[in-house]
Symmetry: C2
């Protein structure tokens, strides 16, 4: 394993080291600055495949088309020897790119305007239909659609997923179809399930079908929409001798769900049940070189990779410093002879994505010094074609010899981003007063000079701060790079990883299971309040090092990050401005729709004996403790978000609730925004918001200029709030209206 | 005025009187029984008009078409001299039937499949378009529709309303059009307004247009959708010399709203503002014979009819025993010379609808001994053609000489219902222990014999228990007549009228205004808890008279009635079964979306200092006090309804929540159900529910037979509840599972 790259050296020392790096120095002098369109048009590669012989590759780069008003997926063929790349078509969506064994062709789910369907792509780029569902089903948060979950954009799906047998002769696929009985009278729990309905919806079923070499097709199962493996991970099929194995979710009323593995025997044409599991963390079935299931277990420092055989016997691969099964990692493949397995890893030290090659009981890790986020593998597992990227490294294609580890770079996936002068982004680990470690990155303001203090923005979102390029799942509508261009220090900070401590694991376990022990006070302390300490102490370190101005600190985060933003604001006086993105969890009004997620946090519902837990912790009920101006940008306009807004407003906290609509009133913007105009407006709104409240600047590029007069009124109305904060010299000399109290 | 017909004599005395009535005796012996289809197909006449010369009339009878799956509107022409009636067309909807002055033609808004549009109907029945909006707007609780309010069915509207000038030469009309900007980013209060969104919606504007004698059309105003006068009562136009006067609602953030009267001058082509009002109770402008506005004021016994002139001067017509301006009453018309006015009244004593004719400062009331619910008037106010009906009288047409009061009956509107043997329905006034009077009707079980006790069902819904025929707005999905056929006594009971007492008026005033005084304890006492006493004491009287079995009493009500059902269950042990229809008000989760309606009841929100008010009173938080089996039938599946269901379930109260869907998942059933199949199922479900819990009978006609096994489980699980009720002899001998504890 490589040595730890993360450091707890002070920033000054790291900067000194960075100054010695020729790449960084060259970037500073030669490149151009980031623009907001750069952030919007970063390509995302989720699909990549390598031919069996390793000579040809195919991948899909999703890039926002600002004129078209939506992202478009560009499918590219790559000649591995030369790196020559050819874009063969552009679709609305691409999924499950795979080689067809025994041929030079590929297959893929493509949305060419008729919903997601299965196509065959010839080696020269021809495209013809393989399986077309003539009645594709609308999915996503849209009228008369199936709300498939997972933040899927409003779209239509005909074929949900598919897989080829290793010899390429059998085709497994899943079709989605509307369930016709949606309009009957419903009773009891079925009505309760409508509580949070915000749109009309349809219900669906998923047929699993198997087409044999003779062209005959048999339906091997029909799964209800409540089976999340079927609706979200339909393609996780394992071909094991004559069997097709797949996981199904069975309803048992618990939060984590209950799962079974089923096996369809191609000869007997019957299903048998192999076994059950609970609280599944990953939809993947990661098979090891002995035919068992791979997993990593144990806390940091004692983490082991093990392979569990069906009978319960375990193969141990020894201690590792990574996780497997993370959907952000590069995937999994078993060699044709079944004796070797490659699996994508996420390192817990450098926060990089790498590969691990398993053969027998041996393990070898393969890395390039950056992240390998998506890979295709040849049939012998002798080579891989991967996307390589890093915090300052735009994604590019690399070929990796899996036997030698040799790396050959094939070219950029994102030529637009190569000329940008890289920002200095310094990995950093912080240790809080509670002894918990939190990993993150310090994004230095462009042109920083020693001794300068800067306004600072903390961006937090679970564990997504890692060694990837301007990751949208982390920075959401917070244009980190532009804040750095404007002179902010941005701290991208993960939650303290629960895997570092049995106590944290216990608390997260209670939250996942839907009940303790530990009790609610301890769960709140370990998951949220320790996190606030972690943020405060990281900011404190950077302040002590002279890098940031303690009177001009903002915080931003969406989803899980928005919980941390809201709890930080009600439990810390560090922040003067905040942007809380599409959150709402922890608010009392969310209880009824998510009891199992709330019970471990509060002990029960807000109207019973547990109200004091809510009064102590729910952000809207503690709005009067907040000293920051709070922007909420939301895609859902949920009651929880509205309650938080109204709580802030009633406490005379400066606040704004901005709702970003869908492409039409018939559909919603997604949790992770996908509509380019919304993303542009939301990023500009955040820039203007923090500039106004932290720097006292009226951004001429503010996207809703008429709101600034409202911000003036809010600043005026909040002038006498937070009297316990003694005014300091730097406050009174600051141009920020929030600090001029 | 006629003498009081209501009696507080015991039922036995009234039955003796009824037995002497030849009509009743004849009905009992000759007619047939009620069927559920009879209830479903009762015609509703909302539109009727008489020609200027009083010789011809037109009306629309809306009758459910069971095969078509929706109500259909049958438009009929009537020759007043002969009574000869001809159905000229059937449309999906009819509104605003009016004669066109100076012609023999009529006009109407008809939905002939292209949305509601304005047509001209010839005297022989020809129909041709007058104003067609080529882009009718979808309205109602449906996807991508404007939620127009008022329980409107999902439909499309082109022309919202219209009116002719008295000389028939000018046409005022209002067009509804979509507002294009619905998809922008929204902020703050505009986002809060989305809190209770259950479907996608569009916004609209309403254009008011005036077409002159020369055919030229001018737009005189454009009103936003927030103007409820425009969206719901667009046709309330007054032609006053050269002016067209109309009310507009302006937004002032209050519950009751703020209103102005505007006048468009046809010569000057300009609008002037005449004055403002607050808290409008009626959308009507009821002009009196002096050109002022008519209203009734004062408590029962001192009620006066007054006409207020624009300058504030008042004409008094003396004491009256009726209300005007009630939308259930027969309307209003002024004679062509302006000197006489006829106005529909609702009597406060007999609960009948009549007419009042005003000339100078004189008043004359006109009645027929039954209710006149809809009337057309000739141009001289010398005659009226009315719908006459009563609790046991199917609707029929009558011609009334407004000068002499002479009545001529023209024939039945509902031949299907004439052969039904009338049930004995006895008007009755009850006085509670608190001294408040409540009016209602005792529906006697078919074939009742002296000395028999019966199971009883109380049906309550505000003030809708009055002298009309099987009124759907009162009995909703509770098939009162079939309960009487099955041997139940049904008590149709109104709330104690607030007009009987300054204290009650004060409490209702606080509820309407959104704040007291009086304080929340008093508001709850006077509006709900006094109502519970009123119900208990009415039932007590009938029990004391030997008519009903005190161990087999049920209660049912929807909307306002559902509040009274839920509060009765948590504050009285009288009931063994209940059906609570599409309610939810009073539940804590309704607070955020209806603060102004909750604040006077609870003092504020549930999560602040007012939680004890909720704990004492909110039905879901007092579910453990309930001894009845509770069915909820709902069209909205609102969080409040779900909370009540879950509160009952968690308290082990036998309960069922039945959600009745819309015609497709893209639309909802309306508050007052309009889909015939839903109405049939819901009525049969209520019959089966009360038969099971009150009579211990498994109804072979139960619409969801598989639910009965669930009821058995609920009965079993609840067997040991309510141990404080001592078992009585009649309980132990009862076959009802609810009583066998």
């Amino acid at each position: 394993m490589k040595p730890l790259l993360l450091s707890s050296l002070p920033v000054a020392a790291l900067l000194a080291a960075a100054a010695l790096s020729p790449a960084s120095a060259a970037g500073e002098s030669q490149g151009r600055s980031w623009t907001i369109e750069d952030i919007l048009t970063i390509p995302e590669v989720d699909e990549i495949a390598l031919s069996e012989d390793g000579k040809r590759a195919i991948y899909a780069a999703e890039i926002v088309d600002i004129e078209a008003g939506r992202p478009r997926s560009h499918i590219r063929l790559v000649d591995v020897a030369t790196g020559r790349t050819q874009t063969i078509l552009t679709a609305d969506a691409t999924k499950s790119l795979r080689p067809i064994a025994g041929t030079d062709d590929w297959s893929a789910l493509l949305d060419m305007g008729d919903g997601l369907q299965l196509y065959r792509i010839g080696s020269k780029g021809s495209v013809r239909p393989l399986v077309i569902n003539p009645a594709p089903v609308p999915v996503g948060k849209a009228d008369m659609s199936f709300p498939i979950g997972g933040g899927m954009r409003p779209a239509r799906i005909g074929v949900l997923d598919y897989d080829w047998s290793p010899d390429g002769k059998w085709l497994w696929y899943s079709l989605i179809k509307p369930k016709p009985e949606a309009n009957r009278v419903r009773f009891d729990e079925e009505v309760s399930a409508l509580r949070n309905r915000r749109r009309s919806a349809i219900d669906v079923e998923i047929d699993y079908l198997l087409r044999g070499p003779d062209g005959s097709t048999v339906r091997i199962a029909t799964r209800p929409s409540s089976d999340r493996v079927a609706t979200r991970g339909g393609g996780r099929i394992v071909w094991q001798e004559d069997e097709v194995r797949f996981r199904v979710e069975v309803q048992d009323g618990t939060l984590g769900g209950s799962f079974e593995t089923w096996a369809w025997d191609r000869k007997k044409k019957a299903v048998r049940k192999l076994g059950g599991e609970r609280d599944l963390l990953s939809m993947w079935i990661l098979v090891g070189p002995h035919g068992g299931q791979l997993s990593t277990t144990g806390l940091d420092g004692q983490r082991e990779l093990v392979e569990t055989l069906p009978g319960g016997q375990r193969h141990r691969f020894g201690h590792v410093a990574f996780e497997i099964g993370d959907p952000r990692a590069a995937g999994w493949k078993r060699s044709a002879d079944g004796k070797r397995v490659v699996v994508g890893t996420r390192r817990t030290d450098t926060l990089r994505y790498e590969l691990a090659l398993l053969a027998g009981d041996e393990i070898r890790t393969i890395g390039t010094g950056a992240s390998l986020t998506r890979c295709g593998f040849d049939g012998f597992l002798s080579s891989a074609l991967c996307v390589e990227e890093g915090t300052s490294l735009p994604p590019r294609l690399v070929r990796i010899d899996l036997n030698t580890g040799a790396v050959r770079r094939l070219g950029s996936i994102s030529p637009r981003h190569d000329p940008i002068a890289p920002l200095r982004i310094i990995p950093r680990q912080f240790t809080s007063r509670d002894g918990y470690k939190a990993n993150g990155y310090v994004v230095m303001p462009r042109g920083h000079r020693a001794g300068e203090r800067h306004p600072a923005l903390v961006v937090t979102h679970g564990s997504d701060a890692d060694d990837r390029f301007a990751e949208p799942g982390n920075q959401w509508n917070y244009p980190v790079q532009l804040f750095a261009e404007r002179g902010y220090v941005v701290l991208l900070l993960n939650d303290p990883s629960p895997r570092q401590s049995a106590e944290l694991m216990e608390a997260y376990g209670a939250w996942m299971r839907g009940k303790g022990p530990p009790g609610p006070d301890i769960v709140r302390q370990r998951i949220w309040l320790n996190g606030v300490h972690s943020i405060e102490d990281a900011v404190g370190e950077l302040t002590a090092e002279g890098l940031i101005d303690p009177d001009r600190i903002g915080i931003a985060g969406y989803s899980r990050g928005s919980q941390m933003v809201n709890v930080s604001l009600t439990n810390s006086r560090l922040f003067r401005a905040a942007s809380s993105g599409d959150g709402g969890f922890l608010e009392p009004s969310g209880y009824a729709g998510a009891r199992a997620s709330y019970d471990p946090v509060y002990g029960g519902g807000p109207l019973g004996d547990h109200i004091d837990h809510y009064r102590r912790f729910a952000p809207s009920l503690n709005a009067d403790k907040i000293c920051a101006a709070v922007l909420q940008q939301v895609a859902s306009a949920s009651p929880s978000q509205i309650d938080f807004y109204e709580g802030l407003r009633d406490a005379h906290v400066a606040t704004q609730l901005s709702y970003y609509p869908g492409a039409s009133p018939a559909s919603d913007e997604t949790h992770l925004f996908h509509i380019p105009s919304n993303r542009l407006l939301a990023m500009r709104e955040n820039l203007a918001w923090f500039d106004y409240w932290l720097r006292g600047v009226r951004d001429p590029d503010a996207p809703f200029p008429e709101r600034i007069a409202q911000w003036d009124r809010l600043a005026d109305a909040g002038r006498n709030r937070c009297p316990l904060t003694p005014p300091t010299v730097s406050q009174s000399s600051s141009p920020s209206p929030a600090n001029s109290e």
